[in-house]
Amino acid sequence: MNENIYNKISMQFLSKSENVSLARIVISSLISTRDISMAELDEIKVAVSEAVTNSIIHGYRGREDCMIEMKVNVAAEQMIISIHDDGIGIDDIELAMRPGYSTLGEHMGLGFAFMTSFMDNVEVQSNVGRGTTVILSKNFNASVAQATQAI
């Protein structure tokens, strides 16, 4: 057991659109006990919403009978959220992450831009035909982390 881990979850859910809000609710309740601002919590919710939405509409092309896996690690100083689908994958990750780039009409191409601007780090691993994993990290305020560890 890692002493540093404050909380940890792993869950799988169907690629149904109503599960986007489920993912947000899980994230909110996991970190509502942390000392972060409402604005930061809202931003993390947006990032998670974007990643899960992408798995459904792009990864699985809107199919509702596939599985998405979300893992969350909350430590004193950092939180790491990974969202994984076994969908179509991304051929050119750099291009996909460019603000405004989208392969679907009526979509703004801002999902990755929001993830990048609202999180401290975004890592994308993808294999065409195999799936995509998006890893979102958020660093908590250093002084808060120290205070929590001291308790």
């Binding site: 659109s17 986007v20 809000s21 809202d42 947006v46 919403s49 939405t53 979509h107 831009a113």
Partner: protein, 118 residues
């Protein structure tokens, strides 16, 4: 997400006011788009005001629907405006750049703290 409509007269122009409540994400984006479109078609109104006071969450799926309606209105020579957005929703509207094409009222809480000018 719930949405209700009314017509309001501001000066010489009539506005279709859409009051939206709840969260706007991909689960409701289609419904949101359809309800706005249907009402815009029958009301024959070229000005649309989105009252977002009761919107608690929006992401790029919801913002995409607003952009789409802006384009539709602009093509007919109409306008679209947004009022009442809470801080979190307002920040997303700015981050998406929609404020460059749509008139958006600034949240009171932000001009009170001096973060934005009234």
């Amino acid at each position: 997400m719930q949405i209700s409509f009314s017509n309001k007269k501001y000066g010489n122009s009539v506005w279709l006011v859409a009051k939206i409540k709840g969260e706007i994400d991909m689960a409701v984006a289609g419904d949101f788009r359809q309800k706005l479109q249907d009402k815009m078609d029958i009301s024959n109104c070229h000005n649309l005001l989105l009252n977002m006071r009761d919107v608690t969450f929006i992401d790029s799926s919801g913002l995409g629907v607003i952009l789409g309606r802006y384009r539709q209105m602009a093509a007919m020579g109409g306008k679209i405006a947004i009022s009442g957005a809470k801080e979190n929703v307002y920040r997303l509207l700015l981050a998406s750049g929609l404020d460059k094409i749509i008139q958006i009222d600034k949240p009171e809480s932000l001009w009170r703290t001096g973060e934005v000018k009234k």
